[in-house]
Symmetry: C2
């Protein structure tokens, strides 16, 4: 298992819900018109609060500054674990679980801030160039396993909708363009301004990434029904995931250890999980092969 530092310099940004319309033009270019941009790393995740956009410097140039765009101050570098075939062969788990002990825990011990971005293809661990000294008003996930005894217990939210992690041939992206545009840019109207309710049973969450030519999509089953069934694929047909959303209030920059806290116990129990950080909250997607009751207990044990 090798840890690679990829050749991208990334910005972590947030577009407000009401600002999306204004950014439709550059976002559609970045998603669909590969010939018109040199952006090679693009990720867009909708949550109830905002749209988290992670992209390289070439892509970032396309986003005009405005009151609707928040930009995390530092540059982030993506790390990527490439399995060399014989390492961690004992685990059947996928996602962050695979790298919890080998990468996430050691980074946390070194007080390195991480921003996780799991995709269908791999898990990107973004580390800030500026380390943990980030301005107060920016949110990132700081890992500090050493201080676990003082770690805050974050409320977790487990919405009822189920998610799938999918991909498609980038050459067939045009075939789902209008559906994807509809879901990303026009499906928000009825729920515009919905508050983030701890008791909410349904969470609006949709993630699209186009990284080095690979497409990854994370969506719930309701969104999935809108797409043609023959183009999107997942590793095992019909594989669904439950979301554990971490943080009742936006996660502050000065707190550490969240990804490690979550991934460590999942790894101990060999529970597969994807992990997607956004501007305000963290989201773990947990294997349905483990009951949610058990998951909650494990998470409760780990963070209390």
């Amino acid at each position: 298992m090798d840890l690679h530092i990829l050749d991208h310099r990334l910005r972590v940004t947030s577009i407000s819900k009401t600002g999306l319309e204004q950014y439709t033009h550059p976002l559609i270019k970045l998603i669909f018109l590969r010939n018109r941009t040199r952006c090679k790393f693009f990720s867009l995740t909708e949550t109830p609060e905002n749209y988290t956009v992670v992209l390289d410097e070439e892509g970032f140039k396309e986003l005009q500054p405005s009151a609707h765009l928040q930009v995390e101050g530092s540059t982030w570098l993506p790390l990527n674990v490439v399995s060399n075939g014989n390492a961690s062969s004992s685990s059947q788990a996928v996602g962050v679980t695979k790298i919890a002990k080998s990468v996430i825990a050691p980074l946390a011990e070194q007080h390195v801030s991480v921003f996780m971005l799991s995709t269908y293809q791999t898990d990107f661990i973004l580390v800030s160039e500026s380390g943990v000294s980030l301005p107060l008003y920016y949110v990132c996930v700081c890992v500090c396993v050493c201080s676990v005894p003082h770690a805050t217990v974050h409320p977790v939210l487990i919405p009822e909708n189920q998610f799938c992690v999918m991909s498609l041939d980038p050459d067939t992206l045009p075939a789902i363009a209008t559906t994807l545009i509809d879901v990303l840019f026009y499906s928000n109207s009825p729920k515009e301004g919905a508050s983030v309710d701890q008791d909410m049973e349904y969470i609006k969450f949709f993630s699209f990434s186009l990284i080095d030519g690979y497409v990854s999509l994370v969506m719930d089953t309701e969104a999935q029904r809108q797409f043609p069934t023959d183009l999107l694929f997942t590793s095992s047909s019909g594989e669904l995931w439950r979301m554990v959303r971490i943080g009742g209030q936006p996660l502050g920059f000065d707190e550490c250890g969240i990804v490690a806290q979550i991934s460590q116990p999942l790894a101990d129990s060999d529970i597969s999980a994807y992990y997607i950080s956004t501007f305000s909250f963290d989201h773990a997607l947990v294997s349905p092969f483990f009951s949610l009751f058990d998951t909650q207990n494990i998470l409760a044990l780990s963070i209390s």
Copy 2:
């Protein structure tokens, strides 16, 4: 031949070249997401000056006012000629030529302002509810055949690029979505701010309309090459048209008779022609079966 007043109340608007980005969100909705809008009449025409958008009240609601949006003050009603099978059977011509004598000339004689919008399917003759008493700063085409002796001689421009008038099954619109989006919203960058040169050999002109479920596209052969060949169709394969653009300066509201002046001599010679009015200029698409030399002579005779 029956003249029908269709059940649409239309607005004629213009979006500036630099304002297009800001209107990408509503325009993409109007073009591609039929389920999200009740707009039934939508037409978007790019010229070197601006984007002319003609749409019904439902569609007009989607366009937020801004300095980039000019709105013609009055409401326009579309007239449509439905051939009843035996009328004008002597003419093989298509487009405005068919209706020059039966509709356009009589309307002009009645001093009724018209704004022409030819499509693949039919020719819409838009008439202003408020007649010819339009505010000075709005441009429309006023017809006043009675005053032909005093009519201004407008310079005409005949660019070298050739155009096709096409259609496609509206259900296959998603299949050309990314190409259409690219051509409409992203192909302008290198020519941004290009002046309207009387000697220009190439004119940027692209028209898309979605009216009562029917799609019509007018584009030059360069744009056509970007689209898949199997989806777009035209009445006769490879049929190309030359453009006669009318007006060296934007056509003023207080001048009359332009459409009639152009269509009358074309009809006399049975030359097929489409006719597309935009916010600033008029554009006749003339059948290639007639040489341009002859066309120029006929037009020169008619307007001098």
